[in-house]
Protein backbone atom coordinates (compact mmCIF):
# COMPACT_ATOMS: atom_id res chain seq x y z
CA UNK A 1 0.00 0.00 0.00
CA UNK A 2 2.87 2.36 0.86
CA UNK A 3 4.38 1.61 -2.53
CA UNK A 4 1.10 2.32 -4.27
CA UNK A 5 0.78 5.72 -2.60
CA UNK A 6 4.43 6.58 -3.30
CA UNK A 7 3.97 5.74 -6.99
CA UNK A 8 0.70 7.64 -7.19
CA UNK A 9 2.11 10.80 -5.60
CA UNK A 10 5.23 10.68 -7.74
CA UNK A 11 3.17 10.39 -10.93
CA UNK A 12 0.98 13.30 -9.87
CA UNK A 13 4.01 15.49 -9.15
CA UNK A 14 5.85 14.31 -12.27
CA UNK A 15 2.89 15.10 -14.51
CA UNK A 16 2.46 18.43 -12.79
CA UNK A 17 6.02 19.39 -13.75
CA UNK A 18 5.31 18.74 -17.40
CA UNK A 19 3.87 22.20 -17.91
CA UNK A 20 3.07 22.04 -21.58
CA UNK A 21 1.12 18.80 -21.25
CA UNK A 22 -0.58 20.10 -18.14
CA UNK A 23 -1.62 23.28 -19.89
CA UNK A 24 -3.15 21.31 -22.69
CA UNK A 25 -4.89 18.63 -20.66
CA UNK A 26 -6.16 20.76 -17.79
CA UNK A 27 -6.69 24.15 -19.40
CA UNK A 28 -7.30 24.00 -23.12
CA UNK A 29 -9.11 20.67 -22.94
CA UNK A 30 -11.67 21.71 -20.31
CA UNK A 31 -12.04 25.22 -21.78
CA UNK A 32 -12.35 24.18 -25.38
CA UNK A 33 -15.57 22.20 -24.86
CA UNK A 34 -17.58 24.84 -22.98
CA UNK A 35 -16.43 27.67 -25.27
CA UNK A 36 -17.25 25.73 -28.43
CA UNK A 37 -20.56 24.80 -26.82
CA UNK A 38 -21.43 28.41 -26.00
CA UNK A 39 -20.61 29.51 -29.55
CA UNK A 40 -22.73 26.73 -31.05
CA UNK A 41 -25.68 27.47 -28.81
CA UNK A 42 -25.37 31.16 -29.63
CA UNK A 43 -25.50 30.42 -33.35
CA UNK A 44 -28.52 28.15 -32.96
CA UNK A 45 -30.36 30.77 -30.93
CA UNK A 46 -29.58 33.52 -33.44
CA UNK A 47 -30.78 31.42 -36.29
CA UNK A 48 -34.11 30.35 -34.77
CA UNK A 49 -35.01 33.69 -33.24
CA UNK A 50 -33.82 36.05 -35.93
CA UNK A 51 -35.65 34.30 -38.74
CA UNK A 52 -38.92 34.70 -36.90
CA UNK A 53 -38.47 38.35 -36.03
CA UNK A 54 -36.56 39.93 -38.85
CA UNK A 55 -37.90 41.67 -41.92
CA UNK A 56 -37.74 39.01 -44.65
CA UNK A 57 -36.71 39.64 -48.25
CA UNK A 58 -38.96 37.42 -50.35
CA UNK A 59 -38.40 37.13 -54.10
CA UNK A 60 -41.81 37.01 -55.74
CA UNK A 61 -42.36 36.26 -59.41
CA UNK A 62 -45.47 37.88 -60.88
CA UNK A 63 -46.52 39.83 -57.82
CA UNK A 64 -48.50 42.10 -60.12
CA UNK A 65 -51.02 39.25 -60.58
CA UNK A 66 -51.96 39.35 -56.89
CA UNK A 67 -51.66 42.86 -55.43
CA UNK A 68 -53.92 41.98 -52.51
CA UNK A 69 -51.74 39.03 -51.49
CA UNK A 70 -48.62 41.18 -51.90
CA UNK A 71 -50.10 43.80 -49.60
CA UNK A 72 -50.96 41.11 -47.05
CA UNK A 73 -47.39 39.81 -47.08
CA UNK A 74 -45.91 43.28 -46.79
CA UNK A 75 -48.18 43.93 -43.84
CA UNK A 76 -46.52 40.93 -42.20
CA UNK A 77 -42.94 42.20 -42.34
CA UNK A 78 -42.03 40.78 -45.70
CA UNK A 79 -40.29 42.87 -48.36
CA UNK A 80 -41.19 41.75 -51.81
CA UNK A 81 -38.16 41.85 -54.09
CA UNK A 82 -37.63 41.04 -57.73
CA UNK A 83 -37.33 37.31 -58.36
CA UNK A 84 -34.78 35.63 -60.65
CA UNK A 85 -36.00 34.60 -64.08
CA UNK A 86 -35.51 30.90 -63.34
CA UNK A 87 -36.64 30.43 -59.72
CA UNK A 88 -36.11 26.65 -59.73
CA UNK A 89 -32.47 27.00 -60.70
CA UNK A 90 -31.89 29.86 -58.26
CA UNK A 91 -33.15 27.82 -55.31
CA UNK A 92 -31.26 24.73 -56.43
CA UNK A 93 -28.03 26.72 -56.66
CA UNK A 94 -28.70 28.17 -53.24
CA UNK A 95 -28.84 31.77 -54.56
CA UNK A 96 -32.26 32.12 -52.93
CA UNK A 97 -33.70 30.30 -49.91
CA UNK A 98 -37.12 30.26 -51.53
CA UNK A 99 -39.03 31.94 -54.34
CA UNK A 100 -42.79 32.55 -54.54
CA UNK A 101 -44.23 32.39 -58.05
CA UNK A 102 -47.72 33.73 -58.72
CA UNK A 103 -49.15 32.41 -61.98
CA UNK A 104 -50.93 34.79 -64.45
CA UNK A 105 -54.07 32.69 -63.94
CA UNK A 106 -54.15 33.71 -60.26
CA UNK A 107 -56.37 36.80 -60.66
CA UNK A 108 -58.84 35.11 -62.96
CA UNK A 109 -59.37 32.10 -60.72
CA UNK A 110 -59.35 34.24 -57.59
CA UNK A 111 -62.26 36.30 -58.93
CA UNK A 112 -64.06 33.14 -60.06
CA UNK A 113 -63.87 31.86 -56.51
CA UNK A 114 -61.70 28.88 -57.45
CA UNK A 115 -58.43 27.83 -55.79
CA UNK A 116 -55.84 30.26 -57.14
CA UNK A 117 -52.46 28.56 -57.66
CA UNK A 118 -49.14 29.90 -56.37
CA UNK A 119 -45.84 28.02 -56.43
CA UNK A 120 -43.33 28.03 -53.66
CA UNK A 121 -39.88 26.95 -54.78
CA UNK A 122 -38.02 25.50 -51.82
CA UNK A 123 -35.24 23.06 -50.99
CA UNK A 124 -36.58 20.90 -48.16
CA UNK A 125 -33.13 19.50 -47.45
CA UNK A 126 -31.82 22.97 -46.58
CA UNK A 127 -32.27 23.12 -42.83
CA UNK A 128 -31.04 26.69 -42.74
CA UNK A 129 -34.09 27.84 -44.77
CA UNK A 130 -36.60 25.66 -42.88
CA UNK A 131 -37.75 28.42 -40.54
CA UNK A 132 -38.19 30.92 -43.39
CA UNK A 133 -40.11 28.42 -45.50
CA UNK A 134 -42.42 27.62 -42.60
CA UNK A 135 -43.02 31.30 -42.03
CA UNK A 136 -43.93 32.05 -45.65
CA UNK A 137 -46.06 28.93 -45.94
CA UNK A 138 -47.88 29.88 -42.75
CA UNK A 139 -48.58 33.37 -44.07
CA UNK A 140 -49.91 32.01 -47.37
CA UNK A 141 -52.22 29.62 -45.54
CA UNK A 142 -53.40 32.40 -43.22
CA UNK A 143 -54.15 34.55 -46.27
CA UNK A 144 -56.05 31.66 -47.90
CA UNK A 145 -58.03 31.02 -44.73
CA UNK A 146 -58.94 34.66 -44.38
CA UNK A 147 -60.16 34.96 -47.97
CA UNK A 148 -62.04 31.66 -47.64
CA UNK A 149 -63.81 32.90 -44.52
CA UNK A 150 -64.77 36.15 -46.24
CA UNK A 151 -66.23 34.20 -49.20
CA UNK A 152 -68.32 32.00 -46.92
CA UNK A 153 -69.56 35.04 -45.07
CA UNK A 154 -70.53 36.77 -48.34
CA UNK A 155 -72.60 33.68 -49.20
CA UNK A 156 -74.30 33.86 -45.84
CA UNK A 157 -72.53 30.89 -44.31
CA UNK A 158 -70.85 31.06 -40.97
CA UNK A 159 -67.13 30.34 -41.61
CA UNK A 160 -67.15 28.19 -38.49
CA UNK A 161 -69.10 25.59 -40.48
CA UNK A 162 -66.05 24.99 -42.63
CA UNK A 163 -64.03 24.18 -39.59
CA UNK A 164 -65.14 20.65 -38.76
CA UNK A 165 -62.31 19.80 -36.44
CA UNK A 166 -60.52 22.08 -34.07
CA UNK A 167 -57.01 20.92 -33.33
CA UNK A 168 -55.42 22.27 -30.21
CA UNK A 169 -51.87 21.25 -29.54
CA UNK A 170 -51.06 21.03 -25.85
CA UNK A 171 -47.29 21.39 -25.39
CA UNK A 172 -46.30 19.47 -22.27
CA UNK A 173 -42.56 20.01 -22.52
CA UNK A 174 -41.14 21.88 -19.57
CA UNK A 175 -39.25 25.00 -20.56
CA UNK A 176 -35.95 23.25 -19.86
CA UNK A 177 -37.02 20.17 -21.80
CA UNK A 178 -36.29 22.04 -24.99
CA UNK A 179 -32.73 22.68 -24.01
CA UNK A 180 -31.98 18.97 -23.80
CA UNK A 181 -30.81 18.47 -27.35
CA UNK A 182 -28.42 21.36 -27.00
CA UNK A 183 -27.27 20.44 -23.56
CA UNK A 184 -26.86 16.81 -24.58
CA UNK A 185 -23.69 18.00 -26.22
CA UNK A 186 -22.50 19.10 -22.83
CA UNK A 187 -22.10 15.55 -21.50
CA UNK A 188 -20.19 14.73 -24.65
CA UNK A 189 -17.71 17.54 -23.99
CA UNK A 190 -17.43 16.73 -20.30
CA UNK A 191 -16.70 13.08 -21.03
CA UNK A 192 -14.17 13.96 -23.66
CA UNK A 193 -12.18 16.48 -21.68
CA UNK A 194 -12.24 14.12 -18.70
CA UNK A 195 -10.55 11.44 -20.80
CA UNK A 196 -8.06 13.94 -22.23
CA UNK A 197 -7.20 15.03 -18.69
CA UNK A 198 -5.86 11.56 -17.85
CA UNK A 199 -4.61 10.52 -21.25
CA UNK A 200 -1.06 11.85 -21.11
CA UNK A 201 -0.40 10.40 -17.70
CA UNK A 202 -1.87 7.02 -18.67
CA UNK A 203 0.49 6.87 -21.64
CA UNK A 204 3.49 8.36 -19.92
CA UNK A 205 3.26 6.07 -16.90
CA UNK A 206 3.28 2.92 -18.99
CA UNK A 207 4.39 3.11 -22.61
CA UNK A 208 6.36 6.30 -21.90
CA UNK A 209 8.16 4.79 -18.93
CA UNK A 210 9.20 1.80 -21.01
CA UNK A 211 10.36 3.94 -23.92
CA UNK A 212 12.37 6.20 -21.63
CA UNK A 213 14.15 3.18 -20.14
CA UNK A 214 13.08 3.93 -16.58
CA UNK A 215 10.70 0.97 -16.30
CA UNK A 216 13.31 -1.73 -15.72
CA UNK A 217 14.79 0.02 -12.72
CA UNK A 218 11.33 0.64 -11.33
CA UNK A 219 10.51 -3.06 -11.55
CA UNK A 220 13.49 -3.81 -9.30
CA UNK A 221 12.01 -1.70 -6.49
CA UNK A 222 10.45 -3.74 -3.65
CA UNK A 223 6.90 -2.99 -4.73
CA UNK A 224 4.64 -5.51 -6.45
CA UNK A 225 3.77 -4.83 -10.05
CA UNK A 226 0.12 -4.66 -9.07
CA UNK A 227 0.88 -1.84 -6.63
CA UNK A 228 2.93 -0.05 -9.30
CA UNK A 229 0.19 -0.10 -11.91
CA UNK A 230 -2.57 0.68 -9.40
CA UNK A 231 -0.56 3.67 -8.20
CA UNK A 232 -0.23 4.89 -11.76
CA UNK A 233 -3.94 4.34 -12.45
CA UNK A 234 -4.80 6.21 -9.24
CA UNK A 235 -2.74 9.18 -10.46
CA UNK A 236 -4.52 9.04 -13.83
CA UNK A 237 -7.86 9.03 -11.99
CA UNK A 238 -6.76 12.06 -9.99
CA UNK A 239 -6.06 14.10 -13.11
CA UNK A 240 -9.28 12.95 -14.71
CA UNK A 241 -11.18 14.10 -11.63
CA UNK A 242 -9.42 17.48 -11.73
CA UNK A 243 -10.23 17.83 -15.42
CA UNK A 244 -13.85 16.82 -14.78
CA UNK A 245 -14.19 19.38 -12.00
CA UNK A 246 -12.69 22.17 -14.09
CA UNK A 247 -14.87 21.36 -17.10
CA UNK A 248 -18.08 21.23 -15.09
CA UNK A 249 -17.04 24.42 -13.28
CA UNK A 250 -16.46 26.25 -16.55
CA UNK A 251 -19.77 24.97 -17.91
CA UNK A 252 -21.59 26.17 -14.83
CA UNK A 253 -20.08 29.62 -15.26
CA UNK A 254 -20.69 29.64 -19.00
CA UNK A 255 -24.36 28.71 -18.64
CA UNK A 256 -24.91 31.88 -16.66
CA UNK A 257 -23.97 33.88 -19.77
CA UNK A 258 -25.41 31.84 -22.61
CA UNK A 259 -28.80 33.43 -23.43
CA UNK A 260 -30.69 30.15 -23.23
CA UNK A 261 -33.68 31.90 -21.68
CA UNK A 262 -34.26 33.56 -25.05
CA UNK A 263 -35.34 30.12 -26.23
CA UNK A 264 -37.73 29.94 -23.34
CA UNK A 265 -35.45 27.63 -21.40
CA UNK A 266 -34.95 27.62 -17.75
CA UNK A 267 -31.21 27.56 -17.17
CA UNK A 268 -31.04 26.96 -13.50
CA UNK A 269 -27.74 25.08 -13.53
CA UNK A 270 -26.78 25.73 -9.96
CA UNK A 271 -23.71 24.82 -7.94
CA UNK A 272 -25.76 21.90 -6.62
CA UNK A 273 -26.37 20.72 -10.20
CA UNK A 274 -22.62 21.00 -10.84
CA UNK A 275 -21.81 18.77 -7.86
CA UNK A 276 -24.48 16.28 -8.87
CA UNK A 277 -23.00 16.19 -12.39
CA UNK A 278 -19.52 15.56 -11.05
CA UNK A 279 -20.87 12.84 -8.76
CA UNK A 280 -22.71 11.10 -11.56
CA UNK A 281 -19.76 11.31 -13.98
CA UNK A 282 -17.07 10.31 -11.46
CA UNK A 283 -17.51 6.50 -11.68
CA UNK A 284 -16.71 6.76 -15.36
CA UNK A 285 -13.21 7.87 -14.40
CA UNK A 286 -12.46 4.25 -13.49
CA UNK A 287 -13.58 3.09 -16.93
CA UNK A 288 -11.56 5.76 -18.71
CA UNK A 289 -8.40 5.23 -16.67
CA UNK A 290 -8.66 1.45 -16.98
CA UNK A 291 -9.28 1.60 -20.70
CA UNK A 292 -6.42 3.98 -21.45
CA UNK A 293 -3.97 2.08 -19.23
CA UNK A 294 -4.85 -1.23 -20.86
CA UNK A 295 -4.14 0.24 -24.29
CA UNK A 296 -0.95 1.95 -23.18
CA UNK A 297 0.25 -1.29 -21.55
CA UNK A 298 0.25 -3.39 -24.67
CA UNK A 299 1.42 -0.81 -27.20
CA UNK A 300 5.15 -0.64 -27.87
CA UNK A 301 5.80 3.06 -27.81
CA UNK A 302 4.45 6.41 -26.69
CA UNK A 303 3.46 7.28 -30.22
CA UNK A 304 1.66 4.01 -30.80
CA UNK A 305 -0.20 4.37 -27.51
CA UNK A 306 -1.21 7.91 -28.41
CA UNK A 307 -2.52 6.84 -31.80
CA UNK A 308 -4.50 3.98 -30.33
CA UNK A 309 -5.96 5.94 -27.47
CA UNK A 310 -6.97 8.85 -29.69
CA UNK A 311 -8.88 6.37 -31.82
CA UNK A 312 -10.42 4.56 -28.88
CA UNK A 313 -11.44 7.78 -27.11
CA UNK A 314 -14.42 7.94 -29.41
CA UNK A 315 -15.87 4.65 -28.22
CA UNK A 316 -17.28 5.93 -24.91
CA UNK A 317 -18.87 8.86 -26.75
CA UNK A 318 -20.68 6.61 -29.24
CA UNK A 319 -23.59 5.71 -26.92
CA UNK A 320 -24.13 9.44 -26.39
CA UNK A 321 -24.32 10.10 -30.11
CA UNK A 322 -26.64 7.13 -30.45
CA UNK A 323 -28.84 8.45 -27.63
CA UNK A 324 -28.97 11.91 -29.23
CA UNK A 325 -29.94 10.54 -32.63
CA UNK A 326 -32.51 8.08 -31.28
CA UNK A 327 -33.65 10.56 -28.60
CA UNK A 328 -33.54 7.75 -26.05
CA UNK A 329 -35.42 8.26 -22.84
CA UNK A 330 -33.78 7.17 -19.62
CA UNK A 331 -34.85 3.73 -18.43
CA UNK A 332 -33.77 1.18 -15.87
CA UNK A 333 -32.00 -1.02 -18.45
CA UNK A 334 -30.05 1.85 -19.97
CA UNK A 335 -28.64 2.73 -16.53
CA UNK A 336 -26.46 -0.39 -16.84
CA UNK A 337 -24.61 1.01 -19.88
CA UNK A 338 -21.52 3.01 -18.89
CA UNK A 339 -21.26 6.45 -20.52
CA UNK A 340 -24.87 6.25 -21.73
CA UNK A 341 -26.18 6.16 -18.16
CA UNK A 342 -23.98 9.14 -17.25
CA UNK A 343 -25.28 11.03 -20.27
CA UNK A 344 -28.92 10.30 -19.43
CA UNK A 345 -28.52 11.15 -15.75
CA UNK A 346 -26.70 14.41 -16.44
CA UNK A 347 -29.43 15.30 -18.92
CA UNK A 348 -31.99 14.74 -16.15
CA UNK A 349 -29.95 16.97 -13.84
CA UNK A 350 -29.96 19.71 -16.47
CA UNK A 351 -33.73 19.35 -16.85
CA UNK A 352 -34.09 19.74 -13.08
CA UNK A 353 -36.05 16.49 -13.03
CA UNK A 354 -35.94 14.54 -9.76
CA UNK A 355 -33.78 11.45 -10.28
CA UNK A 356 -34.56 7.97 -9.03
CA UNK A 357 -31.87 6.98 -6.51
CA UNK A 358 -32.10 3.39 -7.76
CA UNK A 359 -31.09 4.52 -11.25
CA UNK A 360 -28.10 6.37 -9.88
CA UNK A 361 -27.12 3.29 -7.88
CA UNK A 362 -27.31 1.03 -10.95
CA UNK A 363 -25.34 3.51 -13.02
CA UNK A 364 -22.63 3.87 -10.36
CA UNK A 365 -22.35 0.15 -9.66
CA UNK A 366 -22.36 -1.06 -13.27
CA UNK A 367 -19.88 1.61 -14.35
CA UNK A 368 -17.60 0.97 -11.38
CA UNK A 369 -17.68 -2.78 -12.01
CA UNK A 370 -16.82 -2.31 -15.67
CA UNK A 371 -14.01 0.05 -14.66
CA UNK A 372 -12.72 -2.46 -12.10
CA UNK A 373 -12.68 -5.18 -14.78
CA UNK A 374 -10.62 -2.96 -17.08
CA UNK A 375 -8.23 -2.07 -14.26
CA UNK A 376 -7.86 -5.75 -13.42
CA UNK A 377 -7.00 -6.40 -17.07
CA UNK A 378 -4.38 -3.65 -16.82
CA UNK A 379 -2.76 -5.33 -13.79
CA UNK A 380 -2.61 -8.62 -15.70
CA UNK A 381 -0.98 -6.91 -18.66
CA UNK A 382 1.53 -5.28 -16.34
CA UNK A 383 2.59 -8.65 -14.94
CA UNK A 384 3.62 -10.02 -18.31
CA UNK A 385 7.33 -10.54 -18.91
CA UNK A 386 6.93 -9.00 -22.34
CA UNK A 387 6.20 -5.71 -20.58
CA UNK A 388 9.87 -4.79 -20.83
CA UNK A 389 9.70 -5.26 -24.61
Amino acid sequence: MGGLITVCLKEIVDNFHDRRTLLWSLLFGPLFGPVLFAVMVGIVIDRTLDSAEEQLQLPVLGSEHAPNLAAFLEAHRIDIVAAPADPEQAVRDGDEDLVLAITPAFGERFIAGQPAPVQLYVDQSDSHAAATIARVRGLLQAYGARIGAMRLQSRGINPIAAQAVLVETVDVSTPTGRSVVLLGMMTYFILFSMLIGGMYLAIDATAGERERGSLEALLTAPVTRTSLILGKIAATCFYMLVSLTITVGVFTLMLQFVPLERLGMNTEFTVGSAFATIGVMAPFILVGAGMMTVIASFTRSYKEAQTWISAVLFIPTLPILFAAIQSLRPSLQLMAVPSLSQHLLVTEIIKNTPIDAGWVAISVISTALFGAALIYAATLLYKREALLG
Binding site: G2, G3, T6, V7, K10, V13, D14, N15, H17, D18, E209, R212, G213, S214, L215, E216, A217, L218, L219, T220, A221, P222, V223, T224, E385, L388
Partner: protein, 242 residues
Protein backbone atom coordinates in the same frame (compact mmCIF):
# COMPACT_ATOMS: atom_id res chain seq x y z
CA UNK B 1 26.23 -13.18 -1.88
CA UNK B 2 24.79 -14.34 -5.18
CA UNK B 3 24.53 -18.02 -6.02
CA UNK B 4 23.37 -19.13 -9.43
CA UNK B 5 22.69 -22.78 -10.30
CA UNK B 6 21.98 -23.97 -13.83
CA UNK B 7 19.84 -21.08 -14.96
CA UNK B 8 17.87 -21.52 -18.18
CA UNK B 9 15.83 -18.98 -20.09
CA UNK B 10 14.26 -19.25 -23.48
CA UNK B 11 12.38 -16.63 -25.52
CA UNK B 12 10.30 -18.50 -28.08
CA UNK B 13 12.81 -20.47 -30.09
CA UNK B 14 15.84 -18.60 -28.88
CA UNK B 15 17.69 -20.13 -25.96
CA UNK B 16 19.11 -17.00 -24.36
CA UNK B 17 20.61 -18.68 -21.29
CA UNK B 18 21.17 -22.44 -21.45
CA UNK B 19 23.25 -23.30 -18.43
CA UNK B 20 24.73 -20.67 -16.20
CA UNK B 21 26.09 -21.37 -12.73
CA UNK B 22 28.42 -19.25 -10.62
CA UNK B 23 28.86 -17.71 -7.20
CA UNK B 24 29.61 -14.08 -6.49
CA UNK B 25 30.89 -13.72 -2.92
CA UNK B 26 30.55 -10.71 -0.63
CA UNK B 27 33.38 -8.18 -0.51
CA UNK B 28 34.46 -8.85 -4.03
CA UNK B 29 33.79 -7.72 -7.58
CA UNK B 30 32.60 -10.40 -9.99
CA UNK B 31 32.58 -9.62 -13.70
CA UNK B 32 30.27 -11.27 -16.19
CA UNK B 33 32.17 -11.08 -19.44
CA UNK B 34 30.93 -12.07 -22.86
CA UNK B 35 30.25 -10.87 -26.38
CA UNK B 36 27.00 -9.18 -27.34
CA UNK B 37 24.07 -11.57 -27.17
CA UNK B 38 25.87 -14.05 -24.94
CA UNK B 39 23.12 -13.96 -22.33
CA UNK B 40 24.66 -11.58 -19.79
CA UNK B 41 21.72 -9.21 -19.56
CA UNK B 42 19.18 -12.03 -19.48
CA UNK B 43 21.09 -13.66 -16.61
CA UNK B 44 21.19 -10.41 -14.68
CA UNK B 45 17.51 -9.73 -15.36
CA UNK B 46 16.65 -13.06 -13.80
CA UNK B 47 18.80 -12.15 -10.79
CA UNK B 48 17.11 -8.83 -10.28
CA UNK B 49 13.68 -10.49 -10.58
CA UNK B 50 12.23 -8.90 -13.69
CA UNK B 51 12.42 -12.19 -15.61
CA UNK B 52 11.55 -15.66 -14.31
CA UNK B 53 14.00 -18.47 -15.01
CA UNK B 54 12.59 -21.44 -16.96
CA UNK B 55 14.79 -23.77 -14.92
CA UNK B 56 17.55 -23.58 -12.32
CA UNK B 57 17.75 -21.44 -9.21
CA UNK B 58 19.30 -18.18 -8.18
CA UNK B 59 19.69 -17.10 -4.57
CA UNK B 60 20.69 -13.77 -3.17
CA UNK B 61 21.82 -13.89 0.45
CA UNK B 62 20.09 -17.27 0.57
CA UNK B 63 16.76 -15.92 -0.75
CA UNK B 64 15.30 -17.41 -3.91
CA UNK B 65 14.72 -14.81 -6.63
CA UNK B 66 11.38 -16.34 -7.64
CA UNK B 67 9.87 -17.29 -4.30
CA UNK B 68 11.12 -14.26 -2.40
CA UNK B 69 11.22 -11.66 -5.12
CA UNK B 70 10.29 -8.69 -2.90
CA UNK B 71 12.80 -9.63 -0.18
CA UNK B 72 15.45 -10.08 -2.85
CA UNK B 73 14.71 -6.63 -4.27
CA UNK B 74 15.31 -5.11 -0.86
CA UNK B 75 18.77 -6.67 -0.77
CA UNK B 76 19.91 -5.65 -4.24
CA UNK B 77 20.77 -2.38 -5.88
CA UNK B 78 20.34 -2.48 -9.64
CA UNK B 79 21.75 -0.36 -12.41
CA UNK B 80 20.04 -1.77 -15.51
CA UNK B 81 21.42 -1.27 -18.97
CA UNK B 82 18.78 1.38 -19.61
CA UNK B 83 19.44 4.13 -17.08
CA UNK B 84 16.29 6.09 -17.79
CA UNK B 85 15.42 8.85 -15.34
CA UNK B 86 12.24 10.90 -15.01
CA UNK B 87 13.11 13.94 -17.11
CA UNK B 88 10.71 16.33 -15.39
CA UNK B 89 12.09 15.57 -11.94
CA UNK B 90 15.41 16.76 -10.57
CA UNK B 91 18.19 14.23 -10.01
CA UNK B 92 17.54 14.53 -6.29
CA UNK B 93 13.82 13.83 -6.75
CA UNK B 94 14.68 10.80 -8.87
CA UNK B 95 16.86 9.41 -6.08
CA UNK B 96 14.33 10.34 -3.41
CA UNK B 97 11.56 8.47 -5.26
CA UNK B 98 13.52 5.24 -5.06
CA UNK B 99 14.29 5.87 -1.41
CA UNK B 100 10.56 6.13 -0.77
CA UNK B 101 9.86 2.99 -2.77
CA UNK B 102 12.34 1.29 -0.46
CA UNK B 103 10.43 2.55 2.54
CA UNK B 104 12.77 5.39 3.61
CA UNK B 105 11.01 8.45 4.97
CA UNK B 106 11.63 11.88 6.43
CA UNK B 107 15.04 12.84 7.77
CA UNK B 108 16.44 9.35 7.28
CA UNK B 109 15.67 9.61 3.58
CA UNK B 110 17.05 13.14 3.22
CA UNK B 111 20.23 12.21 5.08
CA UNK B 112 20.81 9.22 2.83
CA UNK B 113 20.17 11.24 -0.34
CA UNK B 114 22.59 13.96 0.83
CA UNK B 115 25.17 11.30 1.65
CA UNK B 116 24.93 9.76 -1.83
CA UNK B 117 25.07 13.14 -3.53
CA UNK B 118 28.27 13.90 -1.65
CA UNK B 119 29.80 10.44 -2.22
CA UNK B 120 29.10 10.37 -5.94
CA UNK B 121 29.99 14.03 -6.46
CA UNK B 122 26.71 14.90 -8.13
CA UNK B 123 25.89 17.97 -6.06
CA UNK B 124 26.43 20.36 -8.98
CA UNK B 125 23.49 19.10 -10.98
CA UNK B 126 21.35 17.04 -8.59
CA UNK B 127 19.01 20.02 -8.17
CA UNK B 128 18.44 20.44 -11.90
CA UNK B 129 15.83 18.66 -13.95
CA UNK B 130 17.11 15.40 -15.38
CA UNK B 131 16.01 16.44 -18.87
CA UNK B 132 19.34 18.08 -19.73
CA UNK B 133 21.73 15.57 -18.17
CA UNK B 134 24.66 14.10 -20.06
CA UNK B 135 25.02 10.32 -20.26
CA UNK B 136 27.63 10.40 -17.47
CA UNK B 137 25.41 12.48 -15.22
CA UNK B 138 22.48 10.17 -15.87
CA UNK B 139 24.52 7.09 -15.01
CA UNK B 140 25.65 8.58 -11.72
CA UNK B 141 22.15 9.57 -10.69
CA UNK B 142 20.99 6.08 -11.66
CA UNK B 143 23.77 4.61 -9.52
CA UNK B 144 22.77 6.77 -6.57
CA UNK B 145 19.19 5.63 -7.13
CA UNK B 146 20.35 2.00 -7.03
CA UNK B 147 22.28 2.53 -3.79
CA UNK B 148 19.74 4.59 -1.88
CA UNK B 149 18.72 1.71 0.39
CA UNK B 150 22.35 0.68 1.09
CA UNK B 151 21.99 -2.75 -0.53
CA UNK B 152 24.35 -5.58 0.32
CA UNK B 153 24.43 -6.74 -3.29
CA UNK B 154 24.89 -4.51 -6.32
CA UNK B 155 24.15 -5.59 -9.87
CA UNK B 156 25.37 -3.39 -12.72
CA UNK B 157 24.57 -4.13 -16.36
CA UNK B 158 27.24 -2.63 -18.61
CA UNK B 159 27.54 0.44 -16.43
CA UNK B 160 30.33 2.10 -18.38
CA UNK B 161 28.73 2.03 -21.82
CA UNK B 162 28.56 5.52 -23.21
CA UNK B 163 30.79 7.02 -20.54
CA UNK B 164 33.98 8.98 -21.25
CA UNK B 165 37.34 8.15 -19.66
CA UNK B 166 36.92 10.38 -16.64
CA UNK B 167 33.42 9.19 -15.91
CA UNK B 168 34.51 5.56 -16.32
CA UNK B 169 37.35 6.07 -13.86
CA UNK B 170 35.04 7.69 -11.34
CA UNK B 171 32.63 4.81 -11.71
CA UNK B 172 35.38 2.26 -11.13
CA UNK B 173 36.40 4.04 -7.95
CA UNK B 174 32.85 3.89 -6.74
CA UNK B 175 32.56 0.20 -7.53
CA UNK B 176 35.80 -0.48 -5.62
CA UNK B 177 34.47 1.57 -2.74
CA UNK B 178 31.38 -0.65 -2.63
CA UNK B 179 33.50 -3.76 -2.55
CA UNK B 180 35.68 -2.35 0.21
CA UNK B 181 32.50 -1.67 2.14
CA UNK B 182 31.74 -5.41 2.01
CA UNK B 183 29.28 -5.41 -0.89
CA UNK B 184 28.87 -8.22 -3.33
CA UNK B 185 29.27 -6.50 -6.70
CA UNK B 186 28.26 -8.26 -9.90
CA UNK B 187 28.62 -6.46 -13.16
CA UNK B 188 28.52 -7.30 -16.82
CA UNK B 189 30.66 -5.98 -19.60
CA UNK B 190 31.88 -6.88 -23.04
CA UNK B 191 35.01 -4.79 -22.58
CA UNK B 192 37.98 -6.91 -21.57
CA UNK B 193 40.09 -4.06 -20.23
CA UNK B 194 37.38 -2.92 -17.92
CA UNK B 195 36.87 -6.35 -16.42
CA UNK B 196 40.62 -6.85 -16.09
CA UNK B 197 41.04 -3.51 -14.35
CA UNK B 198 38.31 -4.07 -11.85
CA UNK B 199 37.32 -7.65 -11.16
CA UNK B 200 38.46 -10.07 -8.55
CA UNK B 201 36.68 -12.87 -10.35
CA UNK B 202 35.68 -13.23 -13.97
CA UNK B 203 32.96 -15.42 -15.44
CA UNK B 204 33.14 -15.71 -19.21
CA UNK B 205 29.80 -16.36 -20.91
CA UNK B 206 29.32 -17.43 -24.52
CA UNK B 207 26.12 -18.64 -26.18
CA UNK B 208 24.26 -18.71 -22.89
CA UNK B 209 26.82 -20.92 -21.13
CA UNK B 210 29.65 -20.34 -18.71
CA UNK B 211 32.78 -20.92 -20.75
CA UNK B 212 35.37 -20.32 -18.06
CA UNK B 213 35.65 -18.68 -14.70
CA UNK B 214 38.27 -17.70 -12.18
CA UNK B 215 40.63 -14.89 -11.23
CA UNK B 216 42.27 -12.99 -14.09
CA UNK B 217 45.50 -14.89 -13.41
CA UNK B 218 43.78 -18.26 -13.41
CA UNK B 219 42.16 -17.45 -16.76
CA UNK B 220 45.49 -16.48 -18.30
CA UNK B 221 46.89 -19.77 -17.12
CA UNK B 222 43.97 -21.85 -18.37
CA UNK B 223 44.17 -20.40 -21.84
CA UNK B 224 47.93 -20.31 -21.98
CA UNK B 225 47.94 -16.65 -23.02
CA UNK B 226 49.56 -13.78 -21.18
CA UNK B 227 47.25 -11.12 -22.49
CA UNK B 228 43.77 -11.29 -20.93
CA UNK B 229 42.07 -10.29 -24.16
CA UNK B 230 43.79 -13.10 -26.02
CA UNK B 231 42.77 -15.43 -23.21
CA UNK B 232 39.14 -14.30 -23.59
CA UNK B 233 39.10 -14.81 -27.36
CA UNK B 234 40.83 -18.16 -27.14
CA UNK B 235 38.55 -19.47 -24.39
CA UNK B 236 35.51 -18.40 -26.36
CA UNK B 237 36.86 -20.07 -29.48
CA UNK B 238 37.44 -23.31 -27.56
CA UNK B 239 33.86 -23.20 -26.33
CA UNK B 240 32.56 -22.59 -29.85
CA UNK B 241 34.53 -25.56 -31.11
CA UNK B 242 32.83 -27.78 -28.57
Amino acid sequence: MIEVRQLHKRFGKVEAVSDVSFTAPDGSITGLLGPNGAGKSTTLRMLYTVLRPDAGTARIDGLDVVDNALAVRRRIGVLPHATGLYPNLSGRANIRYYGKLHGLRGTELERRVDELIAELGIGDYAGRRAKGYSQGQRTRIALARALVHTPANVILDEPSSGLDVMATRALRDQVRGLRDGGCCVLFSSHVMQEVAALCDNIIIIGNGRVVASGTPDALREESGRDDLEDAFVSLLAQAEAL
